[in-house]
């Protein structure tokens, strides 16, 4: 009985990190989505200057471990602008994910049939209008499978903000483990929570994918 009691208390403490984990993931994915789409558009449709900028962003960010970006934002950038650990961590993950997402969206834009742009221009759309109302909606759909994979990676990478003290699931599990000296219970609960989150997210994304599949 005492064990069950302890289990419930531990679970209740760790599960409070669930919302933090989800928050970090959501902010990182949103920032990454914005960066990823913009960079992909610049990379595929931009002039040579912007193409180079977008390519450099993607290559450089992907060459650096994500945790280093987290440290840079928390210890370096946060020295100039006021950033909470939560914000610094989420933004760092977002910047990192943006680079990977830009590659996903670049592939998606390149996979849109070439006739689509021509047809859009032929009815008098400007290049910008064609990208916005014809190519982007198709690229988003084409990117869904790859994006879903990236989303689960970001969810799991959200554990990295642990190092700057954001009280997400892993951080809380580690705190409990240090206090109770029962790592099995603490990390077991963390493991199950991540498992549940990832499986739930995969299901959700598969539903979205089915719903918006592009028929060609």
């Amino acid at each position: 009985m005492e064990f069950v009691q302890k289990l419930v208390t531990t679970f209740n403490f760790i599960v409070q990190g669930l919302w933090v984990t989800l928050g970090v993931t959501a902010v990182a994915l949103a920032v990454g989505l914005l960066l990823g789409i913009s960079m992909a558009v610049l990379r595929v449709y931009g002039n040579p200057f912007w193409r180079t900028v977008a390519a450099l962003y993607s290559v450089l960010v992907r060459a650096v471990p994500v945790i280093v970006i987290v440290f840079v934002l928390f210890f370096v950038i946060a020295g100039f602008v006021n950033l909470s650990p939560f914000l610094a961590g989420s933004l760092a993950l977002g910047v990192a994910s943006g680079a990977y997402q830009s590659e996903i969206f670049r592939g998606a834009f390149q996979a849109v049939l070439p006739g689509q742009m021509v047809a859009a221009r032929a009815i008098g759309m400007s290049r910008r209008q064609a990208i916005q109302s014809i190519l982007l909606p198709q690229a988003l759909r084409l990117a869904l499978p790859g994006w879903g994979n990236e989303a689960t990676l970001v969810l799991k990478d959200s554990t990295l903000v642990f190092v700057v003290g954001v009280p997400e699931i892993l951080r809380r599990a580690q705190q409990v483990s240090a206090r109770t000296l029962e790592p099995f219970v603490a990390f077991g609960i963390a493991l199950l929570l991540y498992l549940a989150l990832t499986l739930w997210m995969t299901q959700l994304l598969q539903w979205v994918e089915r719903r918006y599949r592009l028929q060609i």
Partner: protein, 252 residues
């Protein structure tokens, strides 16, 4: 005698890399004319159409559309293209939009119509091509002939003054070409000015006001269909049209 041409093409040159496709091409189209362009593959027919609506700007030469020189510096090609409808060989319908959406998107985004107004006009254009009952279908759910008719409706929605058809039936199964040609014939009878690249000789005979034979990037010969088919002036024209007619017959 002749009214002002709706389109005048003068001494057009267009090359892709080392390959010269149009070599001083000139053509003049009167309002309500239906000109059918024929010629061997690589003779510059599709390139000409893409030059006329500035999708591939010419290297040299001038084009006038309704008195306005559209090859002049400072002309916004997007504005010109609204007046020139284009129909492609492989339809190029927007894959993520329904038939209705395909017609509507240009109305709302380019003509800046309100959604309700655009919806009504799009339905009207689909009605014109006999596909109002397919309004909610996605391109993947339509037959080739239906796709091409939606593509025609999409172009008509922009209220073009001139329609370009780039081999509109070449990608279709033979039994589906009829429905597309019928829509085109109906358009012609309503007075639409059309330039059609096609080897449908039946259509050329019945609907064309003029047949233009191109080869090597220039006009070899042009004239009313009867003259072009029965007594062409150039031997080259006779040989080519005979070949096409034979192929046409054999496929029937």
């Amino acid at each position: 005698m002749n009214p002002t041409p709706i389109l005048r093409v003068e001494e057009l040159y267009k090359s892709f890399g080392q390959t010269a496709v149009l070599k001083g091409f000139s053509l003049s189209i009167q309002p309500q004319e239906v000109a059918v362009l024929v010629g061997p593959s690589g003779s510059g027919k599709s390139t000409l159409l893409r030059c006329i609506n500035l999708l591939d700007p010419p290297n040299a030469g001038r084009i006038w559309l309704e008195q306005e020189e559209i090859t002049a510096a400072g002309v916004n090609p997007d504005r010109i293209r609204q007046r020139i409808g284009m129909v492609f060989q492989d339809f190029n319908l927007f894959t993520h939009l329904t038939a209705l959406g395909n017609v509507m998107v240009g109305l709302t985004k380019v003509r800046k119509m309100h959604k309700k107004e655009a919806h009504e006009l799009a339905l009207f254009e689909l009605e014109r091509v006999g596909l109002v009952d397919r309004a909610g279908h996605y391109p993947a759910q339509l037959s080739g002939g239906q796709k091409q008719r939606v593509a025609i409706a999409r172009a008509l929605g922009m209220d073009p003054h001139l329609m370009l058809f780039d081999e509109p039936t070449s990608a279709l199964d033979p039994e589906l070409t009829g429905e597309v040609l019928e829509v085109m014939q109906q358009l012609a009878s309503e007075g639409m000015t059309m330039i059609v690249v096609s080897h449908e000789m039946g259509f050329a005979r019945q609907v064309a006001s003029r047949v233009v034979f191109l080869e090597g990037g220039v006009v070899v010969e042009q004239g009313p269909p009867a003259q072009m088919f029965e007594r062409p002036a150039q031997e080259r024209t006779r040989v080519f049209l005979r070949k096409i007619a034979d192929l046409d017959e054999r496929s029937r």
